[in-house]
């Protein structure tokens, strides 16, 4: 069966991984939020990290994106080490993310939010901006059209000119997704994208994730909705108290006793 070969590939072909995180550790004061956790994402994969609340999933995202410095470990992306870089540099390298607690720019319109997402793919600086040089104005147009395309992808074009804060919750999640995609990432990190969505919205999200993956973007997903995770993930890592307790295909994970004990048993809903 494919399971074991995939397993072996992961051991032997770490070099071909798009994202390769080795023995990540993060201490917050006394607590060890992430403890010698290794994982990787290969091009074109949808990889999920699951685990009970407080397991350290969001912290892993914060480590990968440079928000928190590592206590120990290494992170490689596309063969380059990125764990000493600042978040904006990591974004430039092609990693985008959405946030568990929405981080919409509430002081901007919907399309402006997405236009910020084009930041690292454009370059007008403060001088050419201040002088409103033709280069600045033509770039603005390109940024605008690219942003509208992203809004089109998530179905928010009709709301482009509204203040982002006026969007309903589900649409704000889609807006974050469009904004993250505007950065043209190679890897997209989604932190509980389905949280708070109605079931119809979750199904739309699932389709959207497939479309994004088919567009050549690898995806690292943190999600509590097990139906969603087991349906779309190629590979699942399970964290508990910051430690890896299991990894495998969704089918493996669903049958894993440790996982059932730590996670599924824990969440009795």
């Amino acid at each position: 069966m494919a399971v074991s070969t995939t397993d072996m590939d992961r051991e032997t072909e770490a070099g071909s991984a798009l994202l390769d995180a080795r023995s990540l550790r993060k201490d917050f004061g006394g607590i060890v939020a992430v403890d010698s956790f290794s994982f990787s994402v290969r091009p074109g994969q949808i990889v999920a990290i699951i685990g009970p609340n407080g397991a350290g999933k969001t912290t892993v995202f914060n480590l990968v994106t440079g928000v928190h410095p590592l206590t120990a470990g290494e992170i490689h992306f596309g063969g380059q080490r990125i764990d000493a870089l600042k978040p904006y540099q990591i974004a430039e390298k092609g990693i985008s993310r959405t946030f568990q607690n929405l981080q919409i720019f509430g002081n901007m319109t919907v399309v402006e939010n997405v236009m910020v997402g084009r930041h690292s793919r454009s370059k007008v600086g403060i001088l050419s901006g201040a002088l409103s040089l033709p280069s600045s104005r033509s770039e603005e147009k390109r940024i605008y059209y690219a942003a509208m395309e992203m809004l089109d992808m998530v179905g928010l074009v009709s709301r482009a000119k509204q203040p982002a804060s006026a969007l309903p919750f589900g649409s704000q999640r889609l807006l974050e997704l469009a904004r993250a995609l505007a950065n043209e990432p190679k890897l997209l990190l989604l932190d509980e994208p389905a949280a708070g969505l109605a079931s119809q919205e979750t199904r739309n999200l699932e389709r959207l994730i497939y479309r994004i993956r088919d567009g050549g973007v690898s995806i690292l997903l943190v999600e509590h909705d097990m139906e969603l995770v087991m349906g779309i993930a190629d590979w699942v890592f399970v964290l508990d108290y910051g430690k890896l307790i299991a990894a495998g295909t969704p089918r493996d994970i669903q049958a894993n006793e440790k996982v059932i004990a730590a996670y599924l048993g824990d969440e009795t809903d």
């Binding site: 600042k86 981080q103 910020v116 930041h119 600086g125 605008y144 482009a160 000119k161 589900g170 904004r179």
Partner: protein, 354 residues
């Protein structure tokens, strides 16, 4: 937006152009000169605070550095005033660059404290470095400005000089605000972590906009120095920093034009208070001004955290939008807007008014 900008700007040009013919007394013209100087300060702080969301309680320091750099270079070293103005701006910008790095490690209240400290340090240096600044007894003999044999000796000429530069700063600022950099600044205000994760080097932009606002303040300071021709430390103290803050809060928290309005309103209020308070309360002095400003600041921040003018505008806009939104959501619910893929061209036409 751009079109709208042009109309507002033209109107502003005309109004400012005719003002000296409407208010002709030398007192009025000098008040209007101070409004122009204050407007430069307010526009800069508006970019820093209103757009990038970074508080400064020490903006008067940059004003003082510009004024004294110009004053010292021209009065003590006989440097050409225009060259001195440029050198002062470079010097002040450099100071902003140097303090920017450590300052922006601080956020929110701590940043406010840090900038307050910076203001106090500069003020004390102006008082204590008597060899350079003349200390409390002041610096005399700052020459007037002239160009190609044309001297800005009459107040009305100076009025046009000051406002030409203030409007130049206004236009530059509007351009910045409407550019990729302006959007980056607002994104920092909106969510610093999200901005970083979209590739915005938040630290770089904070420092850049601090430098811009410092250079504006420096030029304002130079113009002040050549206008009053005598410098002493008091005008560059904490009170001015608060006044600039009030200007921005009144008008400019999210509008560069508003900053000019705020500068006018605050300067006029300050003048009125100076005239009337001592008549009403015998023995009352300048403290009362700062009390009034403190109260304005508190009330506006509590009830209209986006600023007085834009707060009022927002109320109106929100009321209109809510009406429009109610209609739209009704339509959207019928047409399933989330899954449906609306036509892009519908949005594309929107760039014309962008």
């Amino acid at each position: 937006m751009r079109h709208q900008n042009r109309i507002i700007l033209s109107a502003l040009f005309v109004v400012i152009g005719v003002l000296p013919f409407v208010f002709t007394s030398s007192y009025h013209i000098s008040v209007m000169i101070f409004i122009g100087i204050h407007a430069m300060l307010a526009i800069g702080l508006c970019l820093l605070m209103g757009y990038a969301g970074q508080v400064s309680l020490g903006h008067a320091a940059f004003f003082g550095l510009g004024a004294y750099a110009s004053g010292i270079l021209t009065a003590s070293y006989h440097v050409d005033p225009w060259l001195a103005m440029g050198l002062a701006a470079i010097f002040t910008g450099l100071v902003a660059f140097i303090i920017g790095k450590p300052l922006f490690r601080l956020k929110g209240n701590n940043l406010a404290m840090g900038t307050l400290g910076f203001g106090i340090i500069v003020y004390i240096m102006l008082v204590e470095m008597t060899d350079l600044t003349g200390g409390p007894s002041g610096l005399r003999g700052v020459p007037s400005l002239s160009i190609f044999g044309f001297t800005f000796d009459k107040d009305i000429k100076y009025f046009y000089l000051v406002w030409a530069l203030a409007l130049l700063f206004l236009i530059l600022s509007l351009n910045i605000v409407n550019s990729r950099v302006g959007r980056a600044l607002r994104s920092i205000h909106g969510s610093e972590i999200a901005a970083e994760m979209l590739g915005v080097d938040t630290n770089k932009y904070k420092i850049q906009i601090l430098i811009v606002s410092a250079v504006y303040a420096s030029v304002a300071g130079s113009l002040y120095a050549h206008y009053v021709t005598f410098l002493s430390p008091p005008p560059f103290g904490f009170k001015l920093s608060i006044e600039v803050l009030v200007m921005v809060v009144i008008g400019g928290l999210s509008s560069v034009y508003g900053a000019i309005f705020g500068a006018a309103a605050t300067t006029l209020l300050s003048e009125t208070l100076r005239g009337t308070v001592p008549k009403l309360l015998s023995g009352a002095g300048g403290e009362y001004e700062i009390v009034v400003f403190g109260v304005i600041l508190m009330v506006v921040m509590i009830f209209m955290p986006t600023g007085l003018t834009s707060g009022t505008l927002n109320l109106v806009r929100r009321w209109r939008q809510e009406k429009a939104l109610r209609v739209e959501t009704r339509e959207a619910e019928d047409g399933n807007a989330v899954t449906g893929v609306p036509r892009v061209p519908e949005g594309r036409t929107a760039i014309e008014d962008n």
